[in-house]
Symmetry: C2
Subunit: 424 residues, 2 copies
């Protein structure tokens, strides 16, 4: 069946529909209960990190500080040193947070809403504030800007990052556009890596808003599956463009050690860091330094982390291989969908024919496999094409994943055929 | 010397000044370097908690959840159960946070500023918003309301809590008064415990603002030094008064296990908890559940916690005894100061003669003993009497504390005598 399903005859579609319905019934009868909705690591990945759980026998930091007590708002020097080494950032840009980089992002926008930054007015005073949302993207990013009352503007993704022609044109003409969400390496969900040119253009583009911010969520900065991909330095790009305060950089060890019990950080310009630390100093006396020590004891330094991530990749890669192999076998012929083959990160992004994603995911859910909801990768959870599906292969066991992916492919095909038969 | 120093002759004052200046010089020559500025536990207290640092061998929560992974926004059920048992609160009121109750308070005010609550408008829209600050009080509370642009209104403290006649009269007539800071048990710094009547009046008082909030920071709720003091139920009081959404309750294990690596919580009405969880769900995927398990493994249940706190009290009590004994010996005759004898908590509060606190603390600092800055216990760091001093005896060793307190008493006396001699 070389020709695309859209060119099939009614008879061909109807014959396939019968077969698929029978296959689907068979799956539905198995009482599956698999959850692939979120990018959660599976127990194999978690077990690999169990050394973090071991006794913390030394609680003195490198400079002699007792990490059991209050203080050190910006995080332990050795924790900032570690993040700096791993991400090639000056530790003097870094503020160590609690267990969640998402919280650092939310708190950053909350601060900008309430106080503004660098002398510019509070964003809450900007009546029709807007935010750029390269899409498909991360639903929790979009949820934050929605919560704070931003109109979210969808920007299309290209193979090298957000469509920069669109971005440049939008930000140049509208001072109520205050920022952009970016997952620059192995983007969620497409696994796209921003090119050097994209980074450079983000740093130097003219923005009507003088306080425009790039939210640089490098969540998968060390999550290489097939060798390292380099990411250009966003701070250097901003400085070269004469916009030193433009970028907020976020990272965490949530998907390196334990989700929800890792260590998060943010980085920004030296000037702005002073301002932010002053404000954070009203909010907290300091984040959990014992967890910083625990994390450092396991991850140690950049070379140890590299080895650690390579070991995690050995667990993750077979899962991605199962997904991609199944898609290849089941959906390629007939052109039921297109998808990416990511070189890292946590997701595979798939596009069905227009109007089929929601139906396919409903079928999967009814048969016991919950996946990320249709539309979740777009602002307001509204995919204009009803086409994009985020596949999160990290949580199930390999066997569960094989089953889930086979069922998923049956659902995509069945939804497509039903759609083409005019059933919805 | 039975008569008060204010009634001394010039000759008497001048003679004493000479003696004190010589004593002070002797201390100044010792090159002391002691810091008593903050309520930090000393190493003896910290060492007692080292079991928290031991290997976490089981990471399954009671309901089977793997605490290493994402999720459970409101905190582990057993953590909420524990807090509920210890504080006599319904666990269904409780949201477990990260390592800092201060952050939960800041975030609560930030949420009210940005979104309001229970359908009432955002506080940021209230032009001349105000907040009641019973004083002397906790400087970090005042710093939060100052940061968010509240005019802070000082309310005097009585032996049973804030002067409720003043509070009732203020809140009844001004709808821009949005809340009150309360440390209801062993208040910081005076160690005052709110009486049942105070709690009842707070719950039922008529407030012009329909969204008036009591910030109930029960930081020292289990820090009894000489037997237990009971605190009335603020939620029951609010409900009895027909104001079920009035109180936000805060607590943490920071001064039970490790400062900055404990577990914090907030509690509120059942209705409002739903609203808050929805908003927090945008800010985080959940707080550190492994630290919840670590904390629970050591503190276990209410009886174990009680025993634990009694052991900590055995370390703390001698420190309070040193402070009170020294004050008694050095400052009572002549009436150089008055102070409280707290039955729990972390501080002793002392009042010098008007206009002497700043000078006394400057003398102490010059001789190497840093204490909480003069004025810190009042809004805007401005003590109208320049009289209140917060003594934080928990951090130094007993020997250091003896030396520091002797020096401190010399400084108070010297400042007083200089003041009475008209030197400043």
């Amino acid at each position: 069946m070389e020709k695309s399903v859209v060119n099939w005859s009614e008879k061909e579609l109807s014959d396939l529909k019968k077969i698929l319905e029978s296959e689907y019934s068979e799956f539905a009868g198995r009482n599956l209960a698999l959850n692939m909705a979120r990018g959660k690591p599976g127990s194999g990945l978690l077990d690999h990190n169990n050394p973090v759980l071991e006794t913390l026998s030394v609680t003195s930091a490198a400079d002699g500080t007792d990490a059991r007590n209050y203080g050190i708002l910006e995080g332990l020097p050795e924790m900032r040193q570690f993040f700096g080494e791993v991400l090639d950032l000056d530790p003097e840009r870094i503020i160590v947070g609690g267990n969640s980089s998402l919280t650092l992002m939310y708190d950053s926008i909350a601060r900008l809403m309430l106080f503004g930054s660098c002398g510019y007015p509070a964003w809450s005073r900007v009546e029709k504030r807007k935010f750029l949302c390269p899409s498909p993207g991360y639903d929790r990013h979009f949820a934050i800007t929605q919560e704070f009352g931003f109109e979210m503007i969808t920007v299309p993704m290209t193979a090298t990052g957000p469509d920069m022609d669109v971005v440049e044109s939008l930000v140049a003409g509208d001072e109520t556009i205050k920022g952009i969400w970016c997952v620059p390496l192995y983007s969620n969900p497409q696994g796209i890596c921003y090119s050097d040119e994209t980074v450079s253009r983000l740093g130097k583009m003219k923005t009507a808003a003088p306080d425009f911010k790039i939210f640089w969520d490098n969540a998968y900065g060390v999550h290489h599956l097939y060798g390292e991909t380099k990411l250009a330095d966003i701070f250097a790009a901003c400085e070269a463009g004469g916009n030193p305060d433009r970028a907020y950089y976020f990272f965490s060890t949530s998907k390196i050690t334990f989700p929800g019990a890792g260590v998060a950080m943010m980085a920004c310009s030296f000037e702005e860091r002073k301002e932010i630390l002053k404000r954070i100093g009203i909010q907290t006396i300091g984040s959990d330094k014992l967890n910083q020590l625990r994390t450092l004891r396991t991850l140690k330094d950049a070379p140890t982390l590299k080895k650690h991530m390579a070991e995690l990749a050995d667990i993750l890669r077979p899962k991605f291989d199962i997904v991609l192999k199944t898609l290849d076998e089941e959906l390629k012929d007939g052109g039921f969908a297109v998808w990416n083959s990511p070189k890292g990160g946590y997701f595979v992004s798939l596009d069905t024919l227009p109007g089929c994603a929601k139906a396919a995911l409903e079928l999967a859910k009814k048969a016991g496999v919950t996946m990320t909801g249709a539309g979740a990768t777009f602002p307001y959870k509204k995919d204009p094409q009803d086409s994009n599906i985020r596949i999160a292969p990290t949580y199930p066991s390999d066997d569960e994943l094989r089953t889930a992916m086979k069922l998923f492919c049956v659902c995509v095909k069945l939804a497509t055929v039903r759609k083409l038969c005019g059933e919805f």
